[in-house]
Symmetry: C2
Subunit: 254 residues, 2 copies
DNA sequence: ATCAATTCTCGTAGGGTATACGAGAATTTG
DNA sequence: CAAATTCTCGTATACCCTACGAGAATTGAT
């Protein structure tokens, strides 16, 4: 199979800091001027400061002072570089591993996952622009899943339900954190707050909004239910939703 | 303000089928060969069949048999065209409006929102690649929010909490539907099922996975908790999570 | 000292994207 | 029939990724 070779190479790169990369290449040949970690770190740094588009092959190469094509010695393609960047930051979440001390009940431990994930997205907003389908099969991803499964395991659900519940939680938390990061990113890069953005659209209410067609919205508006700004509402609805989800899970345990 | 002019134009385009577009332009000048609806419909059709990238200005123009720059007569920019496409499909969800008959309790009505949203994403998978932050302020978006708020309003929460709960629900449902659509899209365009994708990575477990470092995963694995395929697990965790979320909300009502 | 083998380096070329600008074509009104 | 108005669209610019292949650097053997 052709793909298997590529996949094997990618797996080896992802786990490069856990298992020795290759037979170490001691023989003849020109010495490399970089290593994979430098390339990945530069990609992350550029994406952090100038957006995901800035982590282009050309820009990363320029930053490292080499020709664009030189990067292809260290990384098979742009897609693989992105995978390495993602697994790297997934692994930077500070979550206790097996045997390490934990504080609080299971809900507090889920909260830690939530906080660390939000912190990760807020430090690396470009993550919100990367698809979470078919994530990098590296140490960072596995560490996160292990932590979450270990917490949910304490509820003594069936193994199958443990997996289901953990996935429901991580989907909710990861999606919301991704949205929050994207939201902040857009405020920064557009130079316009969401408040100001809605202000710009005040004509929506004055000219186009039809009270007859939107009685529920109108009622809530008149009762002062829309006074908070977009960011506060989003943050509040996130923790409200997470707490209701955990309530619902707890309800099924007893 | 410069932006206001653009925004006004976009709002007028979004609401073009509700309020007459402009003073109708009866005077002199060359007659237009297209109208906005044709452009939007063509963009949607191309994106549906060949992916979001196929809805490029050049491709849409070619499909309509005109030069690329001609489109800019009908639509201010690519971004605005995408907004129009999105609001169009948001409005195609079949949700009862005010005064129209509804069936079942509030949970069944939330379920309807969930089903219609999933249907929308499954018919228009490219939606999963469009950011839901700063959505088009058009009739389609407002109809969806009105429906959801009208359902949650029947719970008699405070107006503020009604808004918070509705947002938590729509964030969960929309995110999950988006992920499901993206997941299917990737299976189709890559020509490889997720099962096959994981098979390709069997080396992960054989070569790199460390049992010591992942006891919770190992335990669930050994107990047969991972037997279902990725798609089944995702679907199951979605409805599990939604039901637990609604349980949690109901719990707070009483 | 020289040569072969090996490995890293990187310029060029090709096919894609959105859109500012301005000249030209078509149509109605006076 | 000329003026005014509106739509049409070719050209040019500045990015993106990466296949290919020639050249440079290094080691070990003779």
């Amino acid at each position: 199979m052709v793909t298997s070779v590529t996949v094997d190479r990618t797996l080896a790169l992802l786990w490069r800091n856990h298992r020795p990369l290759a037979p170490a290449a001691k023989g003849a040949g020109r010495r490399p001027s970089l290593d994979v970690n430098e390339v990945v770190a530069t990609g992350i740094r550029l994406a952090d400061s100038d957006g995901l588009a800035a982590a282009s092959m050309g820009r990363v190469a320029k930053e490292l002072g080499v020709g664009t094509m030189t990067l292809y010695t260290y990384v098979p393609s742009k897609d693989e570089l992105l995978e390495l960047m993602v697994d790297q930051v997934l692994g930077e979440r500070e979550l206790p591993g097996p045997g390490e001390p934990r504080t609080g009940d299971w809900r507090a431990q889920i909260e830690l996952y939530s906080v660390q994930t939000q912190l990760m997205f807020s430090r690396h907003p470009w993550l919100s622009q990367v698809s979470p389908i078919r994530p990098p099969a590296g140490p960072g991803l596995l560490a996160g899943r292990e932590y979450l499964l270990s917490v949910v395991s304490t509820l003594n659900l069936t193994p199958h339900d443990t997996n289901t519940a953990a996935l429901a939680i991580s989907t909710y938390v990861d999606s919301a954190a991704s949205l929050a990061a994207e939201s902040q990113l857009i405020e920064r890069t557009s130079g316009q707050s969401h408040d100001a953005w809605w202000m710009d659209r005040s004509d929506l209410w004055e000219t186009y909004f039809d009270v007859e067609r939107h009685p529920a919205m109108t009622a809530i508006w008149n009762a002062g239910g829309f006074t908070a700004g977009p960011n506060e509402v989003a943050a509040e609805s996130y923790s409200y939703g997470l707490n209701r989800l955990l309530d619902g899970i707890e309800l099924k345990v007893q």
